[in-house]
Structure formats: C-alpha cells, structure tokens
C-alpha cells in the first residue's frame, strides 16, 4: 500500500519504538504534524527549538533510549544547532528531524530556507537531506543505527515538504548495511592481556572513567575491576554516576575543580587506566606537566580519542563493557592496603571538599541538602558555571544516568530543558535542575512547556546576582573588575513561576532550606526555588587555566 512521506516518517519512528517527540511545528512541517495528530506518539510542544533539542538529549541520557526532536525549516532548524553541538560533544544519541522547503525551491533563498545539513555538518555525527521519498524509510533506519552505535551522537534528517507529501510503497527495513560504517566493539585480546599485566605490576594505579562507561553500560564491570585490583577511581564530569561516589576507592572528579586527592593521585600515579574518557583540557590541566610518571592504558570506542592529547602506551579500541569484562578475568585479586592506598587516604582526610559552615545561606549547603533529600535516587541536571561545579562536588551519585550536565560544550541553559526531558523519561523520579540565576534565564521560557505538559520538575536557582563563574575568574585573575557579569536586572523568580502557573518558593535563610526542598518535592507542579545565596562565594579547589593538576588553589579557610 502506498503511503505519504509523512506517514512513512511517523510509522518508521514507531518501528523504532519512539514514544515521545519534543519540538515546534511550522509551515513546511504541516503534512507530518497532521499525521502525528492521530499517532500514539506523545508530542511535547516546547517554546524554543533549543529547548526541544536539550529535552531530547535529557530524555536520552536519563533513559538510554534515543531522544527525538522536530523543528521546522529555517529558523526552527537553526535554533537546534546548540542542542546538536551539545549532544555531539557529549556523545549522546539523538535524532533531529527538520522540515525543509520544497526540493524545487532549495537553494533559491526561499522563505524560511536554511541549508541545515550544511550548517550542522560539523556538529552532528551524520546528517541526511531526503530528496526522494523512496529513500526515507532506509534513512530513518540508518539514522537510528548511526546515532546509537559506535561513539553515539546526534543525527539530523532534513525532510522537504514535497517529500512529506509524495507517496511510495512502505516497508521498514529489517536491518542496516552501511559498508563505510562498521564500528568495532571487541577489544584486541593481546592488548587486553597486556593491559591486565600492567595493572598487576603497577604500584600507583588510578582508574580514570568517563561518559563512555555510562554509554556502554560498563558500570558493573568497572566496579568489579576496581574492587578486584583495588584501583582508586577518579572520574570526569561525564563519568559522574558510573561509580558510586561514596566508596572506599572513590576519589572524586579530576580536573580544574576536581578533588585534591583525585588530582594528586593522577599526578603521582605510575599507571592511568582510562575508560571511556578523553583527557579533555579541563581534566589534564597543563599537558606537559600531566602525570609525568604514568604509563597510560586507554580504552575507547573512538580511535580519534586515543593519543589525541596524551600519548597512550596501550590503546584498546572497542566497547568499554566488553573490554573491561574481559580484563577483569586477567587482573590479579588484591586485598592488601598498599602505601599508595594509605597515601590516598591521607589526602582524602586532609583535603576533603568543604566550604565555610556558618549561618549564611551558601550554595554548597543547598546542593548538599538536595543530595541528602534525593539520596541518589533522583535525577540531577545542572546548568553551566558555579552551579555545575558545586554540583559535581556535593551531589552524591550512586548509579549511572542520574547526573546530567553539559560536559564538552558547556551550554548555559541546558539543565532546565534537560531536566524536563529526563522527567518525561523517568516520571517516577524526582528531577532537580541545579541552576544559576544567569543560566536559568537562557531557557526560562520552557517553564510553559513544563506547565502545559504537566512535567513537575524542580529548579533550584542559586541566585547570586552574577554570572558567577566568570565573576570568580575576574575576582581571582582580573582584579575584581566585574566586567559584564552583574545581573542587576533579574526578575523576581517567584513571580515568574507564578505567572507561568507554576509554584515559586523564595529561600533566604539556611534554616529554611530543608523545609523548602521537602515542600517543593511534595508539590505536583513545576517549582522554582529562588535561593538567595552568598553572592561572592567561589568554587574551590581550583586549578587555574594553564597550571598543572597539582597546582591547586584551595581557597577555603
């Protein structure tokens, strides 16, 4: 039976078990939206396409499924760009479908035309312009396959309006065969044994884990490896939740705002076992002084990540779970506390993460209380800046997919829509976005999306009246010249919440924090919590840009 392109698209999405789509319609998307109207797919109308992209990503990260977003041609499509770039940097599987002007108008500067495949080529894993309706089903199948396999990422499909209307016979392909794309999952057995040997002989090893552990579902294997070989564990921002943060072997996050013990252990280690992490510049600090005595084993699905920043001694390309599971068999079981473990214990004890514990309302306290109240069972998203770094320090995570933050791109305005997406994926979990007063205003319009679609996310706004992280750098490195960082025109966030039909709670005293959080969780509506925190609080420890990892500013009295 013949079907239209619009019908083929929606049926193909159903074949891929898509339950929800985030987005905004438009003129050239009408044929598809008309079919969507009768389909079982839940459509969540957002207020900006950037919100739709971040929601799809949040959905993907919370559920492990593929998030899908729709945007119309021209400005709708260009508004997705930040969201695509974010998902691309953080290797999150996502499908974006954009409508396009009719094929005969492409290239004519038609109304609401943008060359979106051209624009998004550097920020997607792959993209397609569908010129013939007979290719559509195969393209959708390929797009979902490419998005989820290998190193995952966003894939965009640009669908002209006449292709949505054109008809052809429909059958959804059972499998994909792309001769130029064959990701490798099995690690090289010889390399795995060699790596295990090195682990067995190392005196001062650290296991350095990143987002790849979460993507591949390798957290159980990582726990087994760490416990069997007694490996101290450090993680990246993207790796939060891949290993329980409260564990004898846990050192915390490594890097610019990492813990003292994680940074010092890295610098003094003789072996770094990197799994699904890419030695990002925020992790390594000054490269030529990075871990001078360490050999490096690097397990990654993406060969381009290996030896990009750090010279690797034993590269193993493949799936983290498959490789680590194999590796556990070859590592020797260790039980004894070595001098290395004792040294790490001393660092952990002498230099814990801390802040000034007085009666003032401090951001770190608020975050600690959110961690306490959610007990690692909720989902935490963050914006970018101080709110994000404090969250990495004071949220205790137990399981993967419970801490969702913009890693590589560092997108302010990410956390709130990501929280909405995560809540849609996991309606039974409490979802908190930890925000700053700057970043929440970058996608604040999505409160209407949360209200309209009854998505009761909680937003903890750490309101200090500044773009806090930039202000911190200005305080430390630019003589307190607060150029462009003062947010004196902030709205009343409680009134904003109320105006949207949500609930707003203002908290000005430390003693009110717990009660406010408990109240927010009980309310079955989106809630903005406006925490009036100490305005000039800084994030410490801190490794200044260009310094070595162990050149740490402690900063706290």
């Amino acid at each position: 039976m013949k079907k239209t392109g619009a019908q083929i698209l929606i049926e193909s999405l159903l074949k891929e078990k898509v339950e929800v789509v985030f987005g905004i319609p438009g003129g050239v998307f009408l044929p598809t939206f008309d079919v969507l109207y009768d389909s079982p797919i839940r459509f969540i109308l957002t207020r900006h396409e950037q919100g739709a992209a971040h929601m799809a990503e949040g959905f993907s990260r919370a559920s492990g499924k593929v998030g899908v977003c729709f945007a119309t041609s021209g400005p709708g499509a260009t508004n997705l760009v930040t969201g695509l770039a974010n998902a691309n940097m953080d290797s999150i599987p996502m499908i974006a479908i954009t409508a396009q002007v009719a094929t005969n108008l492409i290239g004519n500067d038609a109304f609401q035309e943008a060359d979106i495949t051209g624009i998004t080529r550097p920020v997607t894993k792959h993209n397609y312009l569908v010129k013939d309706v007979r290719d559509l089903a195969r393209i959708v199948k390929e797009a979902f396959y490419i998005a989820q396999t290998g190193r995952p990422g966003p894939v965009l499909i640009d669908l002209p309006v006449d292709v949505q209307k054109a008809e052809c016979d429909f059958s959804y392909p059972a499998q994909v065969d792309i001769r130029s794309y064959r990701p490798n999952y099995q690690g090289h057995p010889g390399q795995i044994k060699k790596a295990a040997e090195m682990i067995n002989h190392a005196q001062k090893p650290v296991l350095y884990i990143g987002g790849g552990v979460i993507t591949s579902g390798a957290h159980k294997e990582i726990l087994a490896l760490a416990e069997k070989a007694q490996l101290p564990v450090i993680w990246t921002l993207m790796g939060i939740g891949a290993f329980p943060s409260v564990h004898d072997l846990s050192l915390g996050m490594v890097g610019m705002h990492g813990t003292y013990s994680a940074n010092h252990a890295t610098q003094k280690s003789d072996l770094i076992i990197a799994v699904g992490a890419r030695f990002d510049d925020r992790v390594t600090g000054r490269l030529d002084k990075f871990a001078p005595g360490a050999k490096v084993i690097h397990i990654d699905i993406d060969p381009t990540s290996i030896s990009k920043n750090i010279k690797v001694d034993v590269p193993i390309v493949g799936d983290a779970r498959v490789i680590v599971e194999e590796m556990v068999k070859y590592v020797a079981k260790k039980t004894k506390m070595t001098d290395w473990h004792k040294q790490i214990e001393i660092w952990k004890k002498d230099f814990p993460l801390t802040y000034k514990k007085d009666n003032k309302l401090r951001a770190q306290y608020v975050i600690e209380q959110i961690s306490e109240i959610t007990k690692g069972n909720g989902i935490i998203t963050t914006e970018v800046g101080q709110n994000q770094m404090w969250s990495t320090q004071f949220i205790n995570s137990k399981t993967p997919r419970t801490f969702i933050s913009s890693g590589g791109l560092g997108t302010m305005g990410y956390g709130f829509p990501a929280a909405i997406g995560a809540k849609v994926a996991c309606p039974d979990k409490v979802v908190f976005d930890i925000a700053g007063d700057g970043s929440i205003q970058m996608n604040i319009q999505e409160l209407a999306t949360a209200v309209q679609n009854k998505i009761p996310v909680k937003v903890a706004i750490l309101n200090n009246g500044y773009l806090g992280m930039v202000r911190q750098w200005q305080q430390l490195f630019y003589k307190k010249r607060y150029s462009g960082t003062v947010l004196s025109g902030n709205p009343d966030f409680v009134k904003v919440a109320e105006a949207y039909g949500a609930v707003g709670i203002r908290v000005e005293k430390k003693s009110d924090v717990k009660a406010a959080l408990q109240k927010a969780i009980k309310i079955d509506k989106p809630v903005f919590l406006d925490f009036r925190i100490e305005p000039e609080e800084n994030v410490f420890p801190m490794v200044p840009a260009g310094a070595a990892l162990d050149e740490i500013l402690q900063g706290v009295a």
Binding site: T117, G118, R121, P122, K125, H126, L129, I146, I178, R179, S180, Y181, D302, P303, T304, S307, K308
Partner: protein, 159 residues
C-alpha cells in the same frame, strides 16, 4: 612531512564538504585534492596531499575514517606508489621562441595541444617534481595561465 592520502568514499552529495570541513575546522591546509569515480561508480577516490607532523596526520587519518561516508583511508607514505598530476600551461610564443619551446616540450615528453598566433597550450603529465622543473624552465617565456588537476596516486604492484 608531505603525505599522499587516498580516501575511498561513497559517491554522494555532501561528502566532499564533510572532508573539506574536517581539514578546515582544524586549520589544516590541503596542498592538493583530486576526486573522481573509481571502477565502481558508487565509490569515489580522493587523493589528498597534505603536510603536517606525524601526530597531526595520524589524527587527520583517524578523523577521516570516522566519517560515516568514508570507506577506506590509506596513507602512501611508506608504500611504493606512483603519483601523477596533469597540468595545462598557456605560454607566450611567437615565431622567435616557438621552436625553442617545442624542443623543451620534447625533452620533457610533454605535448603541445593548442597553437595560437601568440601562445601555445602545453599538456604535461608527471609527478610534482617533474612538473615543477618543467614550469621553471618554461617560466622565462611568459606563462599566461596554468591549471593543474591535483595529484592522483596509486600503489605499485598488487597492493
């Protein structure tokens, strides 16, 4: 170090842009680029000449391999191979210089493919060095226009 990289790609719209973008996004300049169909019309072969240190080249080759439309990447650096580049040169020539130019063309086994009243077009095929040498000798006569296809390369023997 100069590398000749051969890239087999799907013969589709947008593939060239993806590859060009990979170079430009990292600030690498391409010395020459030649693209054409292979024995299989659904596959194109690109020959890219690029300079850079080993780490940069390794990264470029990995990045090329990562592109969904790239089937295979091979670097000819350590492979016995042939390189050819075709050049058309329009050179000023009158009755006083024509004979001399024709002799040089003969020595280099180039060809004269067009004769005008005050110019000649020479077709020259060879590797980069040979073309460079030829161009230097012809230059004093007055090169009016020159166009090159870019280098194509192929491994020798059964490889």
């Amino acid at each position: 170090m100069r590398h000749a990289i051969s890239v087999l790609v799907e013969n589709k719209a947008g593939v060239l842009a993806r590859i060009a973008n990979l170079f430009s996004a990292r600030g690498y300049n391409i010395d020459s680029l030649a693209v054409g169909e292979t024995e299989d019309p659904s596959i194109s072969r690109m020959t890219i000449i690029v300079r850079g240190d080993e780490r940069i080249l390794e990264q470029i080759e990995k990045q090329l391999n990562k592109l969904v439309d790239v089937i295979r990447v091979s670097d000819f650096l350590e492979t016995e191979h042939l390189e050819r580049d075709l050049t058309l040169i329009k050179v000023a020539a009158d009755k006083n210089t024509r004979l001399e130019i024709m002799q040089i063309v003969d020595i280099f086994r180039a060809k004269i493919v067009d004769v005008g009243s005050s110019s000649l077009i020479i077709e020259m095929t060879g590797n980069e060095e040979k073309i460079k040498a030829f161009v230097e000798i012809i230059r004093p006569f007055g090169i009016k226009e020159m166009v090159r296809t870019g280098v194509v390369a192929m491994a020798r023997g059964n490889k």
